[in-house]
Amino acid sequence: MTQPKSMPMPKHQPTHQPTPQCAQRRRFLHQSGLAIAALGGSGPLAALAQTQGTLTMAYNVDLPSWDPTVGPSAVNPTIQSLYKAVFAQFIDQNADLSLRPDLLTKWGWNADKTQVSLTVRSGAKWHDGTPVTAEDVAWSLRRAGDSKTGNPIQFLWSKLANIQAQGDTVTADVKEYEPALFKWMAFLTGYVLPKAYFEKVGPAGFEKKPVGCGPYQVLEFVQGSHLKLQAFKDYAGPRPAFETVLVKFTTDPSARVAELQAGRSDLTLEVPYEEAERLKAKGFGASIAPVSDIGMIFLSNVGPMRDDKVRQALAMAIDKKGLAGKLLKGHVKPIDTLQAPGYAAFDASITAPFDPKKAAALMAEAGYTRDKPLRFKVQTTRGFKPKDFEVMQAVAGMWKAIGAEVELEVYEVAKHFELRAQHKLAPAAFYNWGNAIGDPSTSTGFAMFSHSPHSAWKDPKGLDAMIGPLWGEKDEARRIAGYKAVDRHIAAHALVIPLFQYSQTVVYRKGLKFTPHGAGFVLPQAVGRA
C-alpha cells in the first residue's frame, strides 16, 4: 500500500488510509493529546480517553475483514456496529427493530409482489468523494446474490433477478417471494459497497483501504490492536457527536473493565452484569437493556425426547422467573417462545407455565420417578452467555426433582455448530439465538424447520407442514398469525425450551449519553455527550 509522505502511517500491520487530508490528521493528533501521551505515566495516559472530540471504545471483538458481505465476519452480529459506522445499509433499523431509511429512502413490492422498487437517497457520497449512485445499490444486490462472491446469505439475495438501476430507482424481479426481504436489507450482509472503487481495487485492495458512505471513514486499522475512525464531512445523515473514534480491540472482559476504570477508554460493552452494576455504583453510566438475543435449550427428537410427556415435564419443571431473578439478578426476561417482546410474532398469550407437581406427574406417567430416574446427557456452554453453566446446573437440579438425572457436558461454540449441523446434539443442549430483525422466519423458522441446518427438532410431517407454507406467504398478517400458531404448537408440545431474553451491558464514563438499541448495536455515531 502506498502512502503519501506527508501522512506517516505505521506499516507494522495492515493499515488503511482513505481520503483524509494532512490537516485532518494533524487536527486528530492535536485533539487526542498526542504530545503528552507517549512517554507513559499516569497523567497523560489516563487523560487520553478524555480527549475532547475523541471517543475511545474498548471493543470486545477484533475486526477480521472489511468486506461486510462475505466470510464468517459478515454474519458475526457484534461486528455489525463497526461495519455500520463505516458503511451504509440498504435500510436502517430503529432501536425498536422497526425499519427506517438508510441509503434507500423508499422500498416496496408491486401489487402482486413479483417486483421490488427501491429509491436511492440523493446527495450521498462515498468516502473517496464520488457520488453514491443507484447503480452502486443494484451492483451490491447483484453481487450479494452471486454464489461466486461467497456471501453467506446468498440463498436469500439470489431470489432477486434482473436488477436494474435507472435514475435514482432500482428495480428487480422476484424469482421467489421472500417476506422478510426488506428486513434482511437492514440485517447481515445488507450493505451497499462502491461499485467503481471495488472493481478498481478488487477484494484485496478493498481490505487494505475500505471505502463506504457511512458516518465515519477509516483512518487507520491495525488488526488485533485498534481502529481509528474520523467523521466523514460529506455524510448524508446527521453529523456524529465525536470527530474521531478510537476502537481498541480488547477481547478480555476484565481488561475492558480495567480500561474503563483507568480512564483509558470512554465506553465498553459486554461486561458481566455484576461488573456493570458495580461500575454504575461507582458513578459510571451503565445501560443494561434487553436485546434481540435469547437463551434456549434445543431438544432433539432422539431417545427419551420423543416422548411428549417427558418434554412437557422438563419444560414445566424449570422455574425461569426464579432463575432470572436469583441467578441473573433480573437482567434477563423469561420467555416461553422463540419470540422475545418486540419481535413481530411475539404473543404474550402463549405461555409455558412452571408447574413442578404436574411435571413430576407427567414424568411418572412416562415411567420415570426420583427412584427410577430418566438419565440423559445435556450439553451447555460455559462462560459464553451470562451464567450459562450455572443456569444449566440449576436446571439439572430442577429436573432431578421430577425424576430426570442429567449428565452435564460443557462444549465449545465450534462443537455446538458442528453437532447441530450434523443433528448430533445431545437430547437437550443449551445455546443462544440472535434475531436482530425480530422476524419469526429468522427465529422459529430457521430454528425449527427440519430442512434448516440449524434446527435440532426434525419433524418433516408435523412442524414442517405448518412452517413450510409460511416461507412464501404473501399476506403479512396471515404469515405472522401462522408463526404464532406454530409457536403455540411448539410451546404446547415443548419442542424446544426457550429460557430468557438477554440484556446487553454497555458501560461508559460520566458525561456521555448512550441509547441502547434493540438489535444490540453499539454505534459510535449513536454515542453523544450528556
Binding site: 453467506p152 449441523a421 429468522t442
Partner: protein, 332 residues
C-alpha cells in the same frame, strides 16, 4: 550439521502431521460455523469443497504439505488473508515481548539467585527463596491480572492494552517497533512500546525469574564449595569478586540451559497473556484462530512455535558449547 538439519526437518514434519490430523479429528467444524440458515445440503457441500475439507485427511495433508514446501500456507478461513503474511506480521511483536520478558527474568532471577546463594542460611536468602516459591506458584496469566489491577487500575502507571499508543504516528518499516524506534531515535515510540510491554513482560517473566533464581542458587552453592573458589578465597580475593568472577561464570551453564527451555515455554505463555493485554502478537492470533477453528492459521501458528522452540534450543546448545571449554574441545 546435516544430521541436525535432518532432525529439524523430521521434527517439523512430525509436528505438522500431528497438528493437521488433530485439528481435523477434534470436535469443532469451521464450515459448520459458517453455514447460513437457509443453506441446502448442496450449499453445505459446496462450502466444504471450497475450503478443501471434502477430501480424505491424507489427501488434504498431501495438498497442504506440497503447498507449504513451496512457501504457501494457504488463506485464513476467518480473516481471509494470506496465512504466512498474517503470522509474519504478528510474530515480531511476540518476539520482542518474549525477549523483553526473558531479559527481565534473567535480570531479576539472576540477582535473586546470586543474593540467595551468597546469603545462604541467613534471612535474606530465606526471603528470596520464599518469594521465588510464591512467584513460581502463580501462573503468568494470573500475574497479568494482578498487574492490570495494580498498574492499570489502582495506580494507572502503565497502559494495559495494545502494543503502542494508537495516537502515535510512526512509519514503521518492520514489525520490530522497539528495535526500529531505537535505531531511528524515535524515543517517544520507544517509551510507548516499553510502557505497553512492561506489564505483560513482567507477567510472563516472573515465573521464569523464580526458576532461574532457584537453579542459579543451587549451581552457585555447588560452585562456592569447589576447590577453585576455596583457592581464590585463600588468595585473598574479595568475597564479591569470588562470587561474581569465580563462582558465577561456572554456575551459568546449567542456568543458561534451563533458560533456553524456559524461554520456549515463556513464548507459549504469550497465548494467554497477549489476550489479557490485547497485545497484537502471535499468541492472541492463536486464540482467535482456535475459536474460529481456522485450520490453516492454527497449522501455521503451531509450526511457527515449533520453529521457535527448535531455534532456541539450537542457539542454547551452541552457546553452551561456546561457554564451556570442555564441550568446545569435545566438539573439535
Amino acid at each position: 550439521m546435516l544430521r541436525t538439519a535432518a532432525g529439524v526437518g523430521l521434527t517439523l514434519l512430525g509436528v505438522s502431521l500431528v497438528v493437521f490430523v488433530l485439528m481435523r479429528v477434534v470436535p469443532g467444524d469451521p464450515v459448520a460455523m459458517m453455514i447460513p440458515p437457509g443453506a441446502s445440503p448442496a450449499d453445505v457441500q459446496r462450502l466444504y469443497a471450497f475450503y478443501g475439507l471434502d477430501r480424505p485427511i491424507a489427501a488434504q495433508y498431501g495438498l497442504w504439505l506440497s503447498a507449504a514446501l513451496r512457501g504457501e500456507f494457504g488463506t485464513s478461513i476467518s480473516l481471509k488473508q494470506d496465512v504466512l503474511g498474517l503470522v509474519l506480521a504478528r510474530l515480531p511483536a511476540t518476539l520482542e515481548l518474549g525477549a523483553g520478558a526473558m531479559a527481565l527474568a534473567l535480570w531479576l532471577g539472576g540477582a535473586a539467585g546470586v543474593l540467595s546463594a551468597s546469603a545462604h542460611g541467613r534471612w535474606p536468602a530465606t526471603l528470596v527463596d520464599g518469594a521465588a516459591a510464591l512467584v513460581q506458584a502463580v501462573p503468568d496469566f494470573l500475574w497479568g491480572l494482578v498487574f492490570i489491577l495494580l498498574f492499570g487500575v489502582w495506580w494507572t502507571w502503565l497502559p494495559i492494552s495494545g502494543r503502542i499508543d494508537p495516537m502515535l504516528a510512526f512509519d514503521a518499516h518492520s514489525g520490530f517497533l522497539f528495535a526500529e524506534s531505537l535505531l531511528r531515535g524515535r524515543w517517544d515510540v520507544t517509551a510507548s512500546v516499553l510502557s505497553h510491554a512492561l506489564a505483560p513482560a513482567l507477567a510472563l517473566g516472573l515465573p521464569v525469574a523464580a526458576m532461574v533464581a532457584r537453579v542459579l542458587k543451587a549451581s552457585m552453592q555447588e560452585a562456592l564449595a569447589a576447590d577453585y573458589v576455596l583457592l581464590a578465597r585463600l588468595k585473598g580475593l574479595s568475597p564479591l569478586r569470588v562470587l561474581l568472577a569465580e563462582a558465577l561464570p561456572n554456575a551459568l551453564t546449567p542456568t543458561l540451559q534451563l533458560s533456553g527451555v524456559q524461554f520456549a515455554f515463556l513464548l507459549g505463555g504469550t497465548v494467554l497473556v497477549e489476550r489479557l493485554f490485547s497485545y497484537p502478537g502471535i499468541g492472541s492470533l492463536a486464540i482467535q484462530a482456535v475459536v474460529a477453528r481456522d485450520l490453516p492459521l492454527i497449522q501455521a501458528i503451531v509450526l511457527t512455535f515449533a520453529v521457535l522452540f527448535i531455534t532456541i534450543n539450537l542457539l542454547v546448545d551452541a552457546l553452551t558449547r561456546w561457554l564451556n571449554p570442555r564441550l568446545r574441545a569435545a566438539g573439535r
